[in-house]
Amino acid sequence: MRLDDSDEEGEFRAELRAWLRAHLPAPAAGPPQPWPEPELRQWSATLGQAGYAGLTWPREHGGRGLPPVYQAIHAEESTLAGAPDHVNVIGLHMVGPTLIRYGTAAQKAVDLPGILSGDIIYCQGFSEPEAGSDLASVRTRAERTAHGWRVTGEKVWSSYAHLADRCLLLARTEPDAPKHRGLTCFLLDMRAPGVEVRPLRQISGDTDFSEIVLTGVELPEDSMVGARGEGWRVALTTLSHERGTFGITLTARLAVQLGRLIRTAHVVGATADQAVRREIADLHVRLQGLRFTGYRALAELERGGEPGPESSVLKLRWSQTHQQMCRLGLRLVQGDTAGHAGQWAAYWRQAQLRSRANTVEGGTSEILRGIVAERVLGLPRHR
């Protein structure tokens, strides 16, 4: 059991740190500013050129064929250095691995290089208004035509949809089959006629997500990913990718957020308040608990190809901890009657409201507790 890098890992980390220092702007003292879209795209292209995209993809598909720990180091160092999310995070970490497993030769030849270079940005079309926690009940219909498929339906909570070139879509092709067996995955051109993207305004005022409305969109014959009726299995593969290292990203973000909280406490002059001190210490413990649990999950992933059972708690506990952190941030700025908080006031108001979605998005806490209970603890299935 050890926590230090191997020689190769240490070398990779040191190079990456130097590279990030050279390519990222110096971190701001105040709240983070969102990156404009052209800079986001440019950053992704720069990452691709430097060989930092597709670290764990096989070499034959243009990746570097590295073990997951390098992806974890990359995620952690990038986040701690203040890099934005890769604009093609869905392409790199979800769609790419899915295509490597299920895609046709033609799909691999076109999409994989495009994802790596940043020329093809992907979004994901899984959730629907009536299919949230119960994803298998998607209603978007793909009907057979002479030359392919015709798709009609509505997808929600799709991130990066407003920037995306293509979408990995889950649709129902067999309306009479049992609900998990009637689904198929497709690749969809976001510029095809009948595709409409509508931004979703969230309670925080952000518009990170979109609705995608599909009205008789024609898909060509070769757009299917995996076999017809096998969409549920393909979608599960897509969702399972990055389970091992996404926890590392979440934890690194949480560490950055705790740093902001501590800066805010200093700015508003709350660092002598016993209750604030205790809660910050408590948040630090929770953060560290997640961080080292992420490392344990990573070690299991490296050894056995699957993250260990402890990884199932990462997202559940991350969401609770982030909400607690944002709540304290809000309390600090709302209690700042002297007006020292400055831009931090607006930052924590937005962050606090945004954080309420953490226990819903990407698996509700209720669903995650059920997964832990049944799959990890082996409790009898809920009836």
């Binding site: 059991m1 630090h284 608990g289 506990r317 209720e366 009898p380």
Partner: protein, 334 residues
Amino acid sequence: MDFATTTTQRGLADAARRHLSDRFPPSRLAATADHGVLDPEDWAALDRQGWLDAELGPVDLALLAEESGRALLPQPWVGTAGSALPVYQSARLPLPGPAALVDSSDTCAAHDAQDWRISGSAPGVVDAHLATELVVAATTRQGVALFGVAPSEVSVAVRDDIDPLRRYATVRLLHAPARLLADPGRTAELLPALRLRSAMLLACEAVGVADGALAEAVRYAGIRTQFGQPIGSFQAVAHQLAEAYAEIETARSLAYRAAVTLNGAGAVEAVACAAVAGPRAAVLACEVALQVCGGIAMTWEFGLHLRYRRALWLDAHRVTSVPPHDALAALLLS
């Protein structure tokens, strides 16, 4: 980075678990809790199992502490291994048996014609009544040094507390003859390290207490039937157990990390995190287990209360004068 137990480490933990579950069935624990008599043969058996070997590293000790917590091992092994063993190792002396550290600012040592003699008192010595020798930190003219004192030379007043399997005593010394175990120079190095090591092992013990409680509750929830189905199939029960699992796994990560980090930079922060998380997980897991097991768990005979009492003891016990939350706040907000 490879933050997982090795095959050897897992073997050590598995052997420890088997040994303890064979040797300490619930009936023995219950009898010890009621009557308070320990069997010296149990200590000898631990020694034979290698629990006192000099070559055990911090991670090995951490895993053994976890198992001792799971089994509520009724022997003062955690205290001895955490706060006394390194003193004897450093002095190249054999461990005389179970030992307890007397770490009070209110003890003084003076050297008369022949012997060191110690006077003073310490109010919260853990399991002093079970020790073969007391390791006493006492102030000398040259600074604080560590001494060995025979229990027969001191007054040990045990007091009732929440945990019948681990008790505090007030130790009073009046010109008690002592042997020098570590001079002030070595003590200055040893004493802070002993405190960190003790706190780390207690955090690991807490994880074992918690994990044992969760395992009992999960087992019970799978077999107890109400309204025609096992109660573990109700979300109201299952989700409480899932939250306890989340609390335990994060605490376990911090406990192991404290062990890995123990002798390096960052040990203070790492041990403080583990010391916060471990007892919290133990208290939560026991409370969830009591709730899930319901009426039967409220009986003395069911035995879950012994775990809960240990969890509450761990939650209140302080190895250092600065509580871990305060230590962390000072590090983070300085």
